[in-house]
């Protein structure tokens, strides 16, 4: 049975065999011909397929299905949320506390 919720992961933790993952990162480059975005969350970067193009430096939250292609992990986006003005540093601090409490 398909997992029915997205697992929040750092980009470096994404293996490519998950059903649905979510992460928050910054657009570092775009390919207008393929609608591919490169997203970096500070732990790593990966390609995200998108229906729209976003400006470089925009903060996005991605929910999507990862897969491997030629040794590279690509995330097929299901949802892209515009996280402009998001306090990423504060969120990272909360995530760190969560890791300590939930483990």
């Amino acid at each position: 049975m398909k997992q029915s919720f997205s697992i929040e992961k750092d980009i470096r933790e994404i293996k490519g065999d998950e059903t649905l993952v979510s992460f928050i990162g910054v657009v570092v480059s775009i390919d207008p011909s393929t609608y591919m975005l490169i997203i970096d969350d500070g732990t790593g970067a990966l390609s995200v397929s998108s229906d729209s193009l976003y400006n470089v430096e925009k903060i996005l939250r991605i929910v999507g299905s990862p897969y491997k292609e030629g040794g590279q992990i690509i995330v097929n986006s299901e949802i892209i949320q515009d996280f402009t003005d998001f306090n990423f540093d504060l969120f990272r601090k909360v995530q760190q506390i969560e890791k300590e409490v939930y483990q």
Binding site: F5, S6, I7, E8, R61, S65, E78, I80, D85, V101
Partner: protein, 255 residues
């Protein structure tokens, strides 16, 4: 006048791991008791809308599938609350307040408040949720120690009160022990999950590209399940966003 129970901020994972309790008495409020003994009568959370909300044709009820990155849940809206779903669409980040219910062994929300929120509310929600959990774990640990040392509920409650611990926690420990003992067997085989899994298999087998009409799914599984149960499983998969309806009564797998 009936007392309004306050809301608690928690992750959906804590809710899904908890036990649903429907107390005796017509006016008693349902709640979920978490593994750390917190009774949640109303849940407040921030989550992503994973599929466009569904509204019944007569507008008397609707549903939306929510995911907070730790777990997911179906949220229902009834009567005048269905208007909460109208401005909401797939991909929105929302804050909700909801009562808790259970249907066919699955936890659900009954929406009272639903609104769009800015991304920073996600951080606030997560920080408050983890704070609730830290406090609860701390007091639950002390209450459990008292409960085990006293070996008598009445004495344990009196001692908890003297030591500044909410005596209801002792009650919650008793309740949890009972629930764990009596619900483990039911958790071994989840019949709803089995039907949903068979529906998804049938969809894969039958879909030739344009989706599968409901009657064909019912026919495919007629030897194993009642039509009503299959129909319910299709609706559940639809509300979770695992299936979508490209045209009336035709269904396709979402991914």
């Amino acid at each position: 006048m009936k007392k309004r129970m306050p809301s608690s901020r928690l992750s959906l994972d804590e809710i899904q791991k908890g036990y649903f309790v429907k107390p005796e008495g017509d006016f008693a409020t349902n709640y979920i008791i978490t593994q750390d003994g917190l009774k949640v009568y109303r849940l407040k959370g921030v989550a992503t809308v994973m599929a466009d909300p569904r509204l019944s044709e007569d507008g008397t009820y609707g549903s939306v599938f929510l995911d907070d990155g730790t777990q997911s849940i179906v949220a229902l809206a009834f009567r005048e609350n269905t208007k909460l779903l109208i401005p909401i669409k797939k991909g929105d980040l929302v804050q909700f307040m909801a009562k808790l219910s259970e249907w066919q062994g699955k936890k659900q929300l009954s929406l009272e408040v639903l609104s769009l929120v800015s991304p920073n509310m996600l951080t606030l929600h997560r920080a408050e949720s983890v704070l609730t959990l830290i406090r609860q774990k701390k007091y639950f640990k002390i209450a459990k120690k008292i409960y085990e040392e006293e070996n008598n509920v009445r004495k344990a409650m009196d001692r908890a009160k003297k030591e500044g611990i909410n005596p209801d926690l002792i009650d919650a420990i008793e309740e949890l022990n009972y629930l764990i003992e009596n619900t483990e067997e039911n958790r071994i085989f989840d019949s709803d999950t089995a039907i949903e899994s068979r529906v998804m298999e049938a969809m894969e087998k039958l879909d030739e590209g344009d989706g599968v009409v409901l009657d064909l799914i019912l026919y495919e599984l007629k030897d194993d399940y009642l039509a009503e149960d299959i129909d319910n499983a299709v609706r559940e998969l639809l509300s979770r966003g695992d299936l979508y309806e490209p045209r009336v009564n035709y269904f396709k797998k979402a991914i």
